[in-house]
């Protein structure tokens, strides 16, 4: 809150670079190495309490804290946007505790912490995505017991997942999962890609960027290394397909990005805009340049 300068200085020296102590960061990095070695496997880790509430990105923050170096450039997005309140809060947290440079430009960032989206701008080698994960276990809503689900993963026993998807088709004619759509990583582990819309799932496949996933409350982390096969579960006669809109972005005119729906008047009129604010801004700027 309103810290006076004196207490602000005391606070700054009371905490380590990027908040967590070095031993904790080493523990997390060891966990990450294991996660990268076994793509899609959920590694238990000694998750720490963070000064933000569980469910607000503590897992992602711990991973970011563990991998952040002084030269990194950090971007934080929530729902694709840099200016949503929780993204602002997390970005400020690292600006304050680590003093790292921050950016809103996807291409400039070396580490991107995200909640619920993958940027539309293609990622490049050397970039690291850190995902905030609420429930890391893709089988959780089918089998509530952790003992059971760990055994199912060990035995590659994923039949129930396909049964669930099949039941969707039998009931609705479609697989009724629109986000947190399960994927198979490197032909082995079924993984929850975090609650990104299934629109973003194809971006995980063979991505040149490193993908790290952190679940703070559940104390699990997992990873998809660069250039790893990530396949969304489907059936031959019901192939995986992503969302499409008939509309395009009201700002930049994009018909290829994930659109957020806005209700703009009391009559319920709708407009659609890009959920990825950086992508939208780049396109809008380019359009304006071309006009001049």
């Amino acid at each position: 809150m309103n810290l006076s300068t004196a207490s602000g200085a005391r606070e700054a020296s009371a905490y380590n670079f990027a908040y967590l102590d070095e031993q904790t960061k080493r523990m997390i990095r060891r966990g990450l190495l294991k996660a990268i070695s076994i793509p899609g496997y959920q590694v238990p880790f000694g998750g720490r309490e963070m000064p933000l509430p569980y469910g607000w990105g503590t897992g992602g923050m711990q991973l970011t804290a563990a991998i952040l170096g002084a030269d990194d450039v950090l971007k934080v997005i929530d729902q694709g946007a840099d200016d949503t309140t929780n993204a602002v809060s997390i970005r400020r947290f690292f600006a304050r505790t680590a003093g790292v440079a921050t950016t809103e430009r996807t291409v400039e960032a070396s580490v991107i912490q995200t909640r619920h989206r993958i940027p539309e701008t293609p990622l490049s080698a050397g970039q690291i995505m850190v995902y905030q994960v609420p429930i890391p276990e893709p089988l959780r809503f089918i089998e509530p017991s952790e003992q059971e689900t760990r055994t199912m993963h060990a035995l590659e026993d994923y039949g129930v997942m396909h049964v669930k998807l099949y039941e969707d088709i039998a009931t609705f004619g479609h697989i009724a999962t629109a986000y947190a759509y399960p994927v198979t990583v490197d032909e082995r582990y079924v993984m929850d890609p975090s609650p990104i819309p299934k629109f973003d799932n194809p971006k995980l496949d063979m991505s040149p960027a490193l993908m790290l996933f952190g679940a703070g409350r559940e104390k699990r982390l997992y990873a998809v290394p660069p250039f790893t096969k990530v396949i969304s579960l489907d059936f031959e006669d019901h192939p995986f397909a992503v969302q499409q809109w008939e509309e395009c972005c009201a700002f930049c005119g994009s018909s290829e990005s994930f659109l957020d729906e806005l209700i703009v008047d009391d009559a319920g009129s709708k407009r659609y805009v890009c959920s990825d604010t950086d992508y939208c801004r780049q396109r809008t700027e380019r359009l304006e340049e071309n006009l001049q």
Partner: protein
């Protein structure tokens, strides 16, 4: 348009200032001192220390003040501070038989060595608002005998154990895992369970304990003993090789005597549930003892009939910092997921025009 998310940075700053002013209240009224909270709200301080897993009355009082009296928020503040502290060792096990007793009751024996000591308790008070408290004044303590050196006071359950009627708890000598450093794995050890319960939410444990009394996993409890008082903490630093006292802490300990088990009638023994909390926290300790016993269903080959007996259910949901965090995250924007759901539900409805008019 898009105002809802623009200006997040300024909005956060303003919200923090509004919160600070809300906490302060009317500035014509004297500000609440941390020491006042510590002295005059000791039961709130005890709860925050227990569930915050940090014995520090001053910091707990500060957290309560900062949280404007929201105890869960205060617990969270204390936890987020505790997590940054270095861990340099573990104390020797507390010896609660050498406690400086403030209160000690047993519901199983009318009289017993060490006696019954009521101490400061809400029990037997009539819950009538005391309007005298609206005015300020002195509240002199009753006359009480000067307490000399603490005398060792044996535990009730040890009498039963000596007679062979109560299973003894054995120290298996294995180092105690620290659930704040290592993630819980299932099935958990009892040491891990007890740690999780000690940090667990008082209300949640109370309700689960209550559910066992109402038949969801009955375990026939008797309050064998509840004792509250100060106990010395000893620690053996590696470089010294012998134990030194670190100071006193106030604790509440509850041992329940529960239904008996045994291969045969001759071997029948009572079982026990154990509860421990920092400070004066009787309700918490009792709830914890009931749930501890319920969670031993597997150990005693009992059928699991209620949620209080399900280890994963209890341990994964008893932490109020985790629970409050995850519930409150629903306030964060979910536009993207919701948009995905909207798109799906519209698609489903478009495809089934015949069913639409039903």
């Amino acid at each position: 348009m898009y105002v809802a998310v623009k200006g997040g940075e300024r909005a956060i700053d303003n919200a923090h200032q509004l919160l600070a002013s809300r906490r302060r209240g009317d500035s014509a009224v004297a500000e609440l001192g941390v020491e006042q909270v510590r002295q005059q709200l000791p039961l709130a301080v005890a709860r925050v220390m227990s569930e915050g897993s940090l014995y520090d009355e001053e910091l707990a009082a500060l957290a309560i003040k900062q949280a404007a009296g929201d105890l869960m928020e205060a617990i969270f503040l204390l936890r987020a501070y505790r997590t940054t502290l270095p861990r340099f060792g573990a104390s020797e096990p507390l010896d609660s038989t050498k406690m400086q007793l403030e209160r000690r009751i047993s519901a199983t024996f009318k009289d017993l060595p060490g006696g019954q000591l009521l101490g400061p308790t809400f029990d037997y008070t009539h819950r009538l608002l005391d309007f005298a408290l609206l005015a300020e004044g002195d509240y002199p303590a009753p006359e009480s005998a000067v307490i000399d050196e603490p005398k060792a006071c044996p535990r009730v359950l040890d009498f039963l154990a000596e007679e062979g009627l109560m299973a003894r708890e054995m120290d298996d000598g294995v180092p105690v895992p620290d659930i704040t450093r290592e993630p819980l794995a299932f099935p958990a050890k009892r040491a891990e369970r007890l740690q999780a319960l000690a940090r667990g939410d008082e209300g949640f444990l109370l309700a689960l304990g209550y559910s066992t009394q109402r038949g969801y996993g009955r375990n026939h409890p008797f309050a064998g003993e509840i004792r509250i008082g100060d106990v010395e903490v000893w620690m053996t630093p590696a470089e010294l090789g012998f134990a030194v006292p670190l100071g006193d802490i106030e604790i509440t300990e509850c041992e329940m005597v529960n239904q008996f088990v045994g291969e045969s009638p001759e071997q029948a023994q009572f079982t026990r549930g154990y509860g421990l909390a920092f400070g004066y926290a009787e309700r918490k300790a009792m709830g914890m003892a009931l749930v501890d016993r319920a969670l031993r269903a597997g150990e005693y080959g009992e059928e699991v009939q209620g949620p209080a007996q399900e280890e994963e259910f209890v341990l994964m949901h008893c932490d109020n910092v985790e629970a409050a965090g995850f519930v409150s995250h629903l306030k964060l924007p979910h536009y993207v997921d919701f948009q995905a759901e909207l798109e799906l539900i519209r698609k489903l409805r478009r495809q089934a025009p015949a069913e639409e008019n039903r």
